[in-house]
Chain length 151, copies 2
DNA sequence: AATGCAAATGCAAGGCAGTTGCAAGTGGCG
DNA sequence: CGCCACTTGCAACTGCCTTGCATTTGCATT
């Protein structure tokens, strides 16, 4: 348990913040997840799995991590809810299933080159970009076909 | 005044909803704007410019329009606030200035072809996509250079 | 033009994601 | 082990948005 708890100690100390049970647990969950999580998802998982935690602690922890650039905060495109993911410094995009809200990662950025080209063409300092692709995943696909009929 | 008020009457009737002062005013504002607006922006403008309107009416009207596909609702990437814009059925992307929140339109979609290619490659029914480019606009550019120093 | 009814609106209360103030608890230093 | 700043839980609060309900309005019909 000690070993487990201090898994991120060094990392956290390096950022000048204390290593605590909650912070370690949150980092661990984010590390395990392939896709961004909401604060609520983290809260519920922690409450069930580990010891009790307050939702405000989840938010505060996430804010702290984000300010240290350990994680990335974004907003889900369809409902605006905040999403958090570990900052692997790797550039990623997702397929968002509008049926079940599932996020599927795309590993390579299909528009990296394009951004480079664009940078030289416009009077705007590009610092980043986000591409989101909507649709229906394998499972929701069939389902959708039986329901939708309008344009 | 009559003429002005009934500018969108036909359009609204076609969708099976009544033409009212508020609905016309909201459509007009959205038509005049080059970029998506928040409900609050609409609310304030209407309150100042036209007659008083309730915020709930703004939201309800926008929801109604969105359900008729007259407008498009989205969520601002950086703070998750809802944005509304007229549905011109034209596909657009934006440059978002993280300095001043300004949105600048890009007229042609740089990744349309790419989506077509992708559609054939993956087990996912693509129905749409959204590309957002972040950075600093002409005005905020200089400002930013004098401030930023960290990685 | 007056009537009637469903749709639209204002108002106030409510809901949900996220934030904040403060007192109590804890990590990690000596 | 004892201290102190940092962290946490708790409860109240904010901001954005939604809903219930009574009133008003568009508009079809007389």
């Amino acid at each position: 348990m000690l070993d487990e708890n201090s898994k991120y100690k060094e990392l956290l100390n390096r950022e000048g913040i204390k290593s605590t049970r909650h912070r370690n647990a949150i980092l661990e969950l984010l590390e395990e997840s392939e896709f961004p999580l909401t604060a609520e998802q983290l809260f519920i998982t922690l409450r069930d799995k580990t010891a009790s935690i307050d939702l405000s602690t989840v938010y505060r922890t996430l804010d702290t991590f984000a300010s240290k650039n350990l994680i990335i905060k974004s907003n889900r495109a369809d409902d605006g809810k905040a999403l958090y993911e570990l900052n692997h410094n790797e550039h990623k995009h997702h397929l968002l299933c509008v049926g079940c809200h599932k996020l599927i990662s795309i590993d390579d950025c299909p528009i990296g080159e394009l951004m480079q080209t664009l940078k030289n063409k416009i009077d705007f300092d590009i610092t980043g970009h986000k591409l989101e692709i909507y649709g229906y995943c394998h499972d929701c696909k069939k389902f959708n076909h039986t329901l939708s009929s309008d344009a």
